[in-house]
C-alpha cells in the first residue's frame, strides 16, 4: 500500500522544558479524508496543526508528509511543501492588509514562480469560484469577515494543494456564514478529493467531517469515524 498522506508517530512538543503540550501523538491520515480535531482550549490543537502545516517543528517523534520525514527537510524545502501541497485557512484570515484581494489570492503563485499573466488568471478563477468576482480590487478591510475567509480559502486553493489545514475557520463568523464556509469545504472534499483537516469547538461544524479526533491535554483521547 502507498504511504498515507500524513503519518504522525510518537510526536512530542515542548514550548517550555519538561512541559509537553503534545504527548506521544500518533495517527495516519489518508489522501481524501475529511478530519475534524476537537478539544478544550489549550489542549494543543493549534500546536498540532502548526506542526502538520510545517510551520513549526516537533520536539520529538516523526511527522511524515507524503512519506518524507519533515525533520530532515531544509527550511526552503518546507517552504516548497507549504507552497505546493498545503493550503492554510486561519481563524484570523491572515490576509495582507495593503494588497488587493486579487493580489492576496495570487501571492502563493508568485512564490511558485508563475508568470504575472498566469497569476492573474488563476487568481481571478479562484475569486469567481468563491463568489467574490466583483471585489478583486478591494482591500481586505473593505470586506466582511465571511468574505475575507472566502478570500483566504481562495488563496489556499490557488496552488491546487492536496491538503487544506483550517484552524477554527469559522471561529470569527456567525452560524450562517460559518455554514457557507463549511459548504465550500464539503464540496472541495467531495468533488476534488482534497484532504481537509479542520479544528473546531462546535459539534455541528465537526459533524461535517467524516472522522473526528479528540485531543485532551495534548494526547489523542479518541479517533473515530463520525
Amino acid at each position: 500500500m502507498a504511504d498515507p498522506l500524513l503519518c504522525v508517530t510518537g510526536l512530542y512538543k515542548n514550548y517550555l522544558e519538561n512541559v509537553p503540550v503534545l504527548k506521544d501523538v500518533s495517527f495516519n491520515i489518508e489522501s481524501g479524508e475529511y478530519v475534524a480535531i476537537m478539544g478544550h482550549s489549550g489542549s494543543g490543537k493549534s500546536t498540532l496543526m502548526n506542526i502538520l502545516g510545517c510551520l513549526d517543528t516537533a520536539t520529538a517523534g516523526h511527522y511524515y508528509l507524503e512519506g518524507r520525514d519533515t525533520a530532515a527537510l531544509s527550511s526552503d524545502e518546507l517552504a516548497l511543501l507549504r507552497n505546493r501541497l498545503i493550503g492554510f485557512v486561519f481563524q484570523g484570515f491572515n490576509l495582507l492588509p495593503r494588497s488587493s484581494i486579487l493580489d492576496n489570492i495570487a501571492l502563493p503563485l508568485l512564490y511558485s514562480g508563475k508568470s504575472k499573466v498566469e497569476r492573474r488568471e488563476k487568481a481571478t478563477v479562484m475569486l469567481t469560484r468563491v463568489g467574490l468576482a466583483q471585489f478583486g480590487d478591494r482591500r481586505p478591510n473593505q470586506l466582511s469577515g465571511g468574505q475575507q475567509q472566502r478570500v483566504a480559502i481562495a488563496r489556499a486553493l490557488v496552488t491546487d494543494p492536496k491538503l487544506i489545514l483550517a484552524d477554527e475557520p469559522t471561529g470569527n463568523l456567525d452560524t450562517q456564514t460559518g455554514d457557507e464556509i463549511m459548504k465550500i469545504f464539503q464540496d472541495l472534499n467531495e468533488d476534488q478529493n482534497i484532504t481537509i483537516i479542520l479544528v473546531t469547538h462546535e459539534d455541528d461544524i465537526a459533524a461535517h467531517a467524516k472522522r473526528l479526533i479528540r485531543v485532551v491535554d495534548g494526547q489523542i483521547a479518541s479517533d473515530q469515524a463520525s
Binding site: C54, L80, R82, R84, R98, L110, Y111, G113, T159
Partner: protein, 407 residues
C-alpha cells in the same frame, strides 16, 4: 520574473509609507548631492590650478631681489633693489639657461580718450614673452632695439584692452601712461588667472629701460625687481639653480656666512605644491561629503529595521504560503536599494544643479564629471545593499510560526 514581482512589492511598500520613504530618501539625497557637488568644486579647483600652472610656462625660475639687513633690521624680499640688468645678462650666459627676462613692475594710470584704467605696468625685455610662452595675437612685440633706445611703446593684456578700448582695436593708438604718450604695439593672448588668483591679463608691458628711465625713475639706475629665468630643460633645473646662486653671490660680493641679498625660486616646485594642495583639498571635500552618504545609509538601515518589525506578521503570512528565505531577503533588500537609488537620483540632480548655481554665483570653475555621478550612484547602491542586508536577513531568518504569532 519573481525578481520583477519582488521589485513591485518593494515599490508598493515604499508607496504605502510615502512620508517615511521620503524622509529616509532625504539622507541619500543629501549624501549623494553633497558628494557630487564637492567633487565638482574640487575638480574645478584642480582644473583652475592646472590651467594656471600651464599658463606660467615650463622650467621657470624667478630670481627676487631683497632682503638686505641694515643694522640688524631685515627687509622683506623685493624691498631693496639689489638686482640689475647686468645680473640678468650674466645669468643668461650660464650654459643651463635658455633665456632670461628682467622685470620691473609698478602701477600706473592709463588714459585713452575719456577712459582711464589703473593697472600694472611691467618693464621687461622681448625674451619675457618667450619665457612665459605668451604670444602676441595682434600687432607685434617690442624688440631689443626698443629696449636699447627706451622707446615709448607698450603691449596690452586683454583685460586692459577691454577696459580702455572696449570694442575698438588699440593697435597703433596712443595712450597716456603717467601723462606720457605711448604707442600700443600689440595685444597679448589671454592668459587667465595666476596661481595666486591675480588676473594676468590686467597688465601692460613696456621695454624695461623705458620703465626705468621714463616711468618709474629712481635712485638706482639699471635696477630690476626680479628676473624670470627659463632653464634649457627640466633635467638641468637643479644645476641651473646652483649656478645662478653661485654667480650672484660672486657678483654681489656675498661672503661665506653672510645672508644672500636675493632669492631664487623654482616655480615648478611652487606649482607642484599648489597642485598637491588643491588635490588634497578636493580629496578632503569628497571624504567629508561621503560621511553624509554613510549617515544616509544608517538612516536606511534604521527605517528598514522598523519596517521589518512592523511587518513581522506579513512576513509570517508570506512564509506560510510558501515564501523561501531568499524571497523574503530579496524583498527587503530590494526595498532598501530602491529607496537608496531613488534618493541618489534626486541627490544627483540636486547636486548637479547646485554645482551649476555655485559656479554661476561665485564665478568659479565647477566640473561635474560623469564618473563622479556614476561613482556616487554606485556607492549609494552599495550603501543600500550593505545597510539593507542586516534588516533583510533579520526578516528572512524569522521562524514561520513565530512570525505568524507575532502581535
Amino acid at each position: 520574473m519573481i525578481i520583477g514581482a519582488l521589485l513591485g512589492e518593494g515599490w508598493a511598500a515604499m508607496r504605502a509609507n510615502r512620508m517615511r520613504t521620503l524622509l529616509t530618501m532625504l539622507g541619500m539625497v543629501f549624501g549623494v548631492g553633497s558628494v557630487i557637488m564637492m567633487l565638482a568644486i574640487g575638480q574645478g579647483a584642480q582644473l583652475m590650478v592646472n590651467e594656471s600652472i600651464a599658463s606660467m610656462g615650463s622650467n621657470l625660475f624667478i630670481v627676487l631681489s631683497g632682503s638686505t639687513s641694515a643694522g640688524g633690521l631685515r627687509q622683506g624680499s623685493g624691498t631693496v633693489p639689489t638686482l640689475t640688468l647686468d645680473d640678468a645678462q650674466a645669468i643668461g650666459e650660464l650654459t643651463e639657461i635658455a633665456s632670461v627676462a628682467p622685470n620691473l613692475p609698478n602701477n600706473a594710470q592709463l588714459i585713452y580718450a575719456s577712459n582711464n584704467w589703473s593697472t600694472q605696468v611691467l618693464g621687461t625685455t622681448p625674451a619675457f614673452f618667450d619665457v612665459r610662452e605668451w604670444p602676441v595675437v595682434s600687432g607685434e612685440a617690442f624688440k631689443d632695439s626698443d629696449v636699447r633706445s627706451a622707446t615709448r611703446v607698450l603691449l596690452m593684456g586683454q583685460t586692459v584692452v577691454r577696459n580702455l578700448f572696449g570694442d575698438e582695436n588699440p593697435v597703433g593708438k596712443m595712450v597716456r601712461v603717467k601723462n606720457s604718450p605711448f604707442l600700443v604695439l600689440g595685444i597679448l593672448a589671454a592668459k587667465g588667472q595666476s596661481l595666486d588668483g591675480r588676473d594676468q591679463d590686467d597688465t601692460v608691458f613696456v621695454p624695461i629701460t623705458t620703465a626705468q628711465r621714463q616711468l618709474f625713475g629712481n635712485q638706482f639706475p639699471g635696477m630690476v625687481r626680479s628676473i624670470m629665468v627659463k632653464a634649457k630643460s627640466a633635467e638641468v633645473m637643479a644645476k641651473a639653480e646652483q649656478g645662478m646662486t653661485e654667480l650672484l653671490k660672486i657678483r654681489h660680493r656675498i661672503h661665506i656666512g653672510q645672508e644672500n641679498d636675493f632669492s631664487v625660486r623654482n616655480l615648478a616646485a611652487v606649482a607642484q605644491a599648489a597642485a598637491s594642495t588643491t588635490e588634497a583639498m578636493s580629496t578632503m571635500l569628497g571624504a567629508i561629503a561621503s560621511v553624509s552618504l554613510l549617515v544616509g545609509g544608517i538612516g536606511i538601515m534604521n527605517i528598514m529595521l522598523v519596517s521589518v518589525t512592523e511587518r513581522i506578521r506579513e512576513i509570517g503570512i508570506r512564509m506560510a504560503i510558501g515564501a523561501r528565505t531568499r524571497d523574503i531577503l530579496l524583498q527587503f533588500l530590494f526595498e532598501a536599494v530602491m529607496i537608496s537609488l531613488a534618493g541618489s537620483f534626486i541627490g544627483a540632480v540636486l547636486g548637479v544643479a547646485c554645482a551649476y548655481f555655485f559656479s554661476q554665483y561665485n564665478d568659479t570653475l565647477v566640473v561635474v564629471t560623469l564618473s563622479s555621478v556614476f561613482l556616487s550612484f554606485g556607492v549609494a547602491a552599495a550603501v543600500g545593499v550593505f545597510f539593507g542586508f542586516y534588516p533583510a536577513r533579520k526578516a528572512a531568518n524569522l521562524k514561520p510560526i513565530e512570525a505568524l504569532r507575532y502581535q
